[in-house]
Amino acid sequence: MLFKANRLLALAVMLPLLGQGCAVNQQAQVEAEAKTPAAAIDAAVEAELNAANGVNGEERAGDSDADLVESDKAELNSYAEVEYELP
């Protein structure tokens, strides 16, 4: 019981710190992007490349649409499995 409470307390302390850490990290990134022209140019280009990769990732899900066309295969095969001859 005590152990559980301790863990919850630790979690309660850690979560805001983690959030703060993320915010600090984000702030550092923003500052880095704005620091020099080269960093700003790289950030702009990398952002475009990341966005393109993200879109590409979503589009890859569409590749399996082709498999859906054959999704009735099992039902079609069942026709051949029925015992048609006299028992």
Partner: protein, 262 residues
């Protein structure tokens, strides 16, 4: 040979004949009885086969109806899933594009803050125009590939549905016809062996035809997989062009900031 010998032989022959004749007669009676019983036996076997055909016919018919219901449900489900997936993809891509637009605007402000000369400001404007053109070219290429794929998938779904419909209908009709013929033959007094042999041959022919139809249907699946590969290749090509365009834009803008870029 004396007369006495002749008489003795004649008596022996008659005696033997007397013994043998009743056996022959009895054998003939048995044979006649067997001939009378055989048609009766055949009729019993036939009646049994006919009754089995009747029951089996109903059983097979009910299974075929069940299969058809499942097949139709699967086909409808497939078409619904396809639509859902497309809508979901469109939404996700659109969300990413919106996020990308916001990020572009945010980074443009930071970039513009570094411009100290008109040449640098012009270079930034050109960079932004180049980026927009590259993004648009990539988007158009993806859209064209997606549209071609969508049309191909839809055509394949329709083709498969039509072929499946034709093959299962033909199969069901053939099985029904085979069982109907067996019933009719039974009622007409055709021997059980012939009824069974005809039924077996007709069912085998129906299955063979169904198998060959199924192979043709499977070719539709292979074709649509090739379409998916074409789409993937078109996307990859568009990505390669996009990356090259972005590198070009990066190099050009860095050149404009040459003195400041470290």
């Amino acid at each position: 040979m004396s007369f006495r010998n002749l008489t003795q032989r004649a008596v022996s022959i008659l005696a033997l004949a007397g013994l043998a004749l009743p056996s022959v007669a009895a054998a003939q009676t048995l044979n006649v009885n067997a001939n009378v019983r055989a048609p009766g036996l055949n009729a019993e076997v036939r009646a049994d086969v006919c009754s089995k055909i009747g029951t089996h016919f109903l059983d097979v018919e009910s299974k075929l109806v069940d299969l058809r219901v499942k097949l139709d449900a699967r086909s409808n489900d497939r078409e619904q899933k396809l639509e859902e997936r497309r809508a979901d993809r469109l939404e996700k891509v659109s969300d990413r594009e919106k996020q990308s637009d916001e990020r572009r605007a945010e980074l443009a402000t930071k970039l513009e803050a570094h411009a100290t000369t008109d040449a640098q400001r012009a270079a930034i404007l050109k960079f932004q125009a180049d980026v927009r053109a590259a993004v648009e070219a990539r988007r158009v290429a993806y859209q064209a590939a997606n549209e071609a794929f969508r049309r191909g998938v839809d055509a394949s779904v329709t083709a498969r549905r039509t072929q499946v419909e034709a093959s299962v209908t033909l199969f069901r009709t053939s099985v029904k016809a085979a069982l109907e013929k067996a019933k009719t033959d039974c009622a007409a007094g055709v021997s059980a062996a012939t009824v069974k042999a005809n039924l077996l041959a007709a069912l085998k022919a129906a299955r063979t035809r169904f198998e060959s139809d199924r192979k043709a249907i499977d070719r539709v699946g292979t074709q649509v997989k090739a379409l998916a590969e074409t789409r993937k290749a078109a996307h990859a090509k568009a990505m390669t062009v996009f990356k090259a365009d972005m590198e070009k834009a990066r190099v050009a803008l860095k050149a404009a900031f040459a003195g400041d870029v470290k």
